[in-house]
Each structure stands twice: as C-alpha cells, then as structure tokens.
Symmetry: C2
C-alpha cells in the first residue's frame, strides 16, 4: 500500500540501508547515489515512517501537551505557540484535555508516554509527588508549577497578585475579596499566598472565596458571596471568572467599578472586549508555550535539565477598577 524504504531501494538499485542512510546520515553516502535515491524517493512519494524509526532510535518526534480545558481561552494561545514552535523543530503535538481532572491527567501521561519524546503538563492539577513519579517514566516539563528537580516554566503570578492588590489598596479599597481557583492549582495557591501577604502589609482585609471552577459560570455564581462579604474590590483567579463575576454583579444591581472593582488574571483576548474592559494581570502564555517546548527539546540532547524559567507578569489597567 504505502511506499516503504524497500520500494525506494528496489527502484534505485541499492540496499535499504543505503536508502536509510540517505535520509538519516547523508554524509555517509556517495553524492551520486544520494541524488539517485532522493530522486526515486521523490518520485515514489516516499516518506520515512517515523513510528518505525522511533522503535530503534527511541525518538518519536512527537510531544504531548496536556491542558485542563481547551475551551478555556487561557490555553489556546499557549497551545498555538507550542504547536508552532514544535513544528518548527519538526515535531508534532498530541493535545489532551483533562477537564480539570487530576486522574485523567495521570492516565493520559501514561497513555502517551511511549509515543512521545516528552510531555508538557500545563497548569497540572496532580500532586507534586505524582508528577515526580511520572517524570521518571517520561521527560516532563511543567508549566505553572514549581517542583524541585522538575524542569518548569512558571509565570510570576505571585508578583502579579501583589501588584494587583497594591493597585486596589492604592485606590483606597480596604475590604478585598480573593476569588480562588480550582483545587490542586499551584497558581491559585501562589496567588493566595502573595495576595494575603500583600493585603496584610497594606492593612487591608482579605476574604478568600473558593475553591471554584475556573470558568465564567464559576465567577457568576459567587457574585452574591462577594457582595455579602462586603468587599469593594475583587481579585479573581482568572479573567474568565472575573468576567463571569462582573456579569453576576451587574445582574445583582451592583455597578462595576463604581461599587465594586474587579481585577482578573491572564489577559485573555476577551478581557479587552467586554464592557467594562477588564483590568487584569497579563501572563505571557504564548512565550510560556514556546519556552516549554524549547526546554523539552533541549532536554532530549543533554540529559535532564532541571532548569526553571520564570516569566514576568504585568498589570494592565483598564476600566473595571476605580476608587473605593
């Protein structure tokens, strides 16, 4: 059916090993032979079967990319950047969606392990211990999590949360709510830690609401909790929740930002387009995707990087925050 190395060998009158070398070690074959083999291959439409090659070389030229929810606008730019970067290096990407479920994450990593050179775990919900264990089975790069000995790309959300809280307290807010994210999220813990410390320093009261599903609906449903807490400002785990929250607040008759200021995190495309436009902490998702792929590929060459790359975040002030 499909054209194999043997067809090319037959057509060009050489042994299959010569054809093989034409592709994977061209300097070992005579230029004339090489030209002839390439011509035959071209004419027959031959393409090496990567899976077969991987059986021997151990390199699949595939990467696994595992995210919690493809439909969450935070992920697509990261996926896109990772895919692009991977393909630039002639790799293909398996994408899996775990629906925020740690058990699915584990299962998918294991299922993919044999047919990839490594796995990118983006915003994992698994425990550190499990990630460490899996990283012994397949090269892993983690995005948005810090674990000793595991290569990682982390966005500095702690700083982002600090700046966001400082922005709010500078506007005079003294009762601030923190809408936290899903259980198992390292990012959510970081935000919480940093926001708590910053609020304390600034002498503001911080009410923590959560954990919550990191979606628009998650934000919408806690609007009344926020009002009940008497908060005049809110920092949400991500933009989607912030936007949902604003919907909920408006529906409950509160004005944004006159009655309640809202800050999101991520700076997804959406946040420029809603009304009011969302003040948010921009995270460099595309850069993270590229960096993670680069780490994974470097990983392959010199064994076992454990480097951790930090990417900076910044506050983008728009229209959803105002004076207390």
């Amino acid at each position: 059916m499909a054209v194999t190395i043997r067809d090319v060998a037959r057509a060009s009158g050489v042994h299959i090993s010569t054809v093989s070398r034409t592709f994977s070690a061209p300097h070992l074959v005579n230029p004339n032979t090489r030209t002839r083999v390439l011509a035959c291959a071209e004419q027959l439409g031959y393409r090496p079967n990567r899976a077969a090659r991987a059986l021997i070389t151990g390199r699949t030229y595939n990467i696994g990319l595992i995210v919690a929810d493809i439909a969450n606008p935070f992920f697509p730019p990261l996926i896109k950047a990772a895919e692009s970067q991977a393909r630039k290096h002639d790799h293909h990407i398996f994408v899996a969606d775990t629906n925020e479920d740690a058990a699915v994450e584990e299962e998918v990593v294991r299922a993919l392990a044999k047919q990839v050179d490594g796995v990118l775990l983006v915003s994992p919900r698994m425990s550190n211990a499990l990630i460490e264990q899996l990283s012994r089975e397949v090269p892993l790069v983690v995005v948005n999590r810090q674990i000793a000995g595991i290569p990682a790309v982390v966005m500095d959300v702690a700083r982002g949360a600090r700046i966001a809280i400082e922005h709010l307290t500078a506007l005079g807010h003294r009762r601030v709510a923190l809408v936290s994210g899903p259980r198992g999220s390292w990012t959510s813990r970081e935000i919480r830690r940093s926001a708590t410390a910053t609020a304390k320093t600034a002498g503001a009261e911080l009410t923590i609401i959560g954990p919550n599903p990191p979606t628009e609906v998650g934000g919408l449903t806690i609007a009344e909790d926020v009002l009940r807490a008497g908060a005049t400002a809110v920092l949400a785990y991500n933009d989607l929740m912030a936007i949902g929250l604003i919907e909920g607040l408006l529906a409950a008759g509160a004005r944004v930002p006159e009655d309640v200021s809202v800050v999101g995190i991520d700076d997804i495309m959406l946040s420029r387009l809603t009304r009011p436009k969302l003040t948010t902490v921009a995270t460099p998702t595309a850069a993270a995707g590229r960096a993670a792929v680069d780490m994974l590929l470097a990983h392959g060459d010199d064994r076992r990087t454990t480097a951790q790359i930090h990417l900076q975040t910044e506050l983008v002030i728009r229209d959803s925050t105002g004076r207390a």
Copy 2:
C-alpha cells in the same frame, strides 16, 4: 529502560506471544494464564507500545486534527469535543495549526499520514482537487466543505446566512454589507451565495467587502469601508470579525445597533459577553467535532464512507441588531 512485552513474558513464565494475546485476543488464552500475565503486567507497569503494534496492524489509534487557527475562538470547542470523543474510543489526537495557509495544510496532512488512522480537516483552505488527492493517501473527514465522494460534516451556514439577512430586512434594512472571510473558505462562498440570493429576493442591496482575514483585526480595519458603503446593516463572516467591526464602528462614532446593525456567525463564547451582545448565527461546533470523529472511526471498519452529515444552524438574536 521501559518495560516491554518480553519483561512481562519472562516474569510470568510464558512466551511473548501469549502475553500479546492476553491483551489483544484474551479469549485465546487460558483464564489462569491470563490472570497471571495481567498481574505481572500490572506489577511491572507494562503498557503495550502502540507504535510498535501499529507497524503490524496498521491501526495507530491516533487521529490528526488540522485547523486554521487554534487561537480563533471558533475552534477550541470543536477541538475539545473531538478530543473528548476520540479519547472515549481510546484514540489520541494530533493537533496542527496551519495559520490559514493551504500549503501548510498539505504538508501537515502528509507528515501526519503515516502515524494516524485518519485526518480531520476543519475548514480547510486547500483546493478540492488537492483534498481529493490527499484522501487517497489517508482517510480524511472534512468539516465545513462539500466535495463529492469525501466524507464530510457541514454546518448549514447557507440557511444561517439566509435567516440572518431575512432578520435584517425584516427590520427594515435595505442597504446591507457582507463582510466575507478568507480566500479558500467554502463557508465564506456559501454565505455569499446564500446572502446574495436572499438579499435579491428581499429587494435589498448587498455590498460585498472582502476577502478579509477572519479575525478581530480583520473586522476592525474594514469599519470605514462599511460606513463608506452606506450600509445600515452588516453580516460578518464570523463573530470575531463582527466584534472587531463593532469596535471599529464605535471608534468611528457610529452607534450599534442604532446606526448600524451587526450580525455575526458562530456564536462563540465571546459574543454573549461583549457590549452590545452580539446577534449571531449559532453553529454547532462541538457537535461537528464529535460527528467528524465518529465518521472517521466508522470509516475504519466498513471501508470508505462517503456520507455527509448536515448540522443545523440557528439565529440567536441579541442586542447588536435593531430597526433601520
């Protein structure tokens, strides 16, 4: 390094072929043996290597999914649904982003062909002829394109465009602009054909603007073309362009919907959240993703489906349209 079928065979004291059968043809092995083998496999953490298996069986349990732009909010729900459906049937998904480039599409299909059971081509920009040729090299299911003999899932945008135009003319609009999509898009041609016919019937004048890149920026930059054309209503190729267009119109001092009514297509999440909320033609993207995967998998069993599935669209009236 990794545990192979031989390790399991050694541990359980049987031949590798028995281990193999334990997994792929359990009824052929004695229940006692089977239990023992499974226990050993479990204990060693054995997982069959799918790539190796595929070498013989020809079934990879992988699917390729090719889209024009992952970051375009139209695609993620489709990708998510497809991935979910695929995994339900124990398949994994390669995702590739072509950046709206037909040449990249072709290259990726070919690159993926050997390691997948089939490819889903979503909103392809390639020519029909090329798609037909590729479909002889690897099973293909196309979404949003009709080609004789190629299995497809199509959303009935023609009807959607008709209803959208009827909605506008019923509101009294007589000068309507159609903001078309990217070159090579079947959907864009369908919309154009249907909108043109409907406008004619309704006695409205239709100005076609485009082709344009199917993005927010694409919509933004043609706002003045729309105003110059004197249109009081616009149907845009997709929501993203409609939203960009509204931004542009507002920036130019026009009110929406008082001065200009805008209708989008797709009903992406965004369209519920912008102000004004977007009137749009909802397309069943998640259902399309699931259906396409189902077709591809069915394809594998009985050879060569050529069925085409049609999915209905419907108009969602929100706040971006009003009387002329």
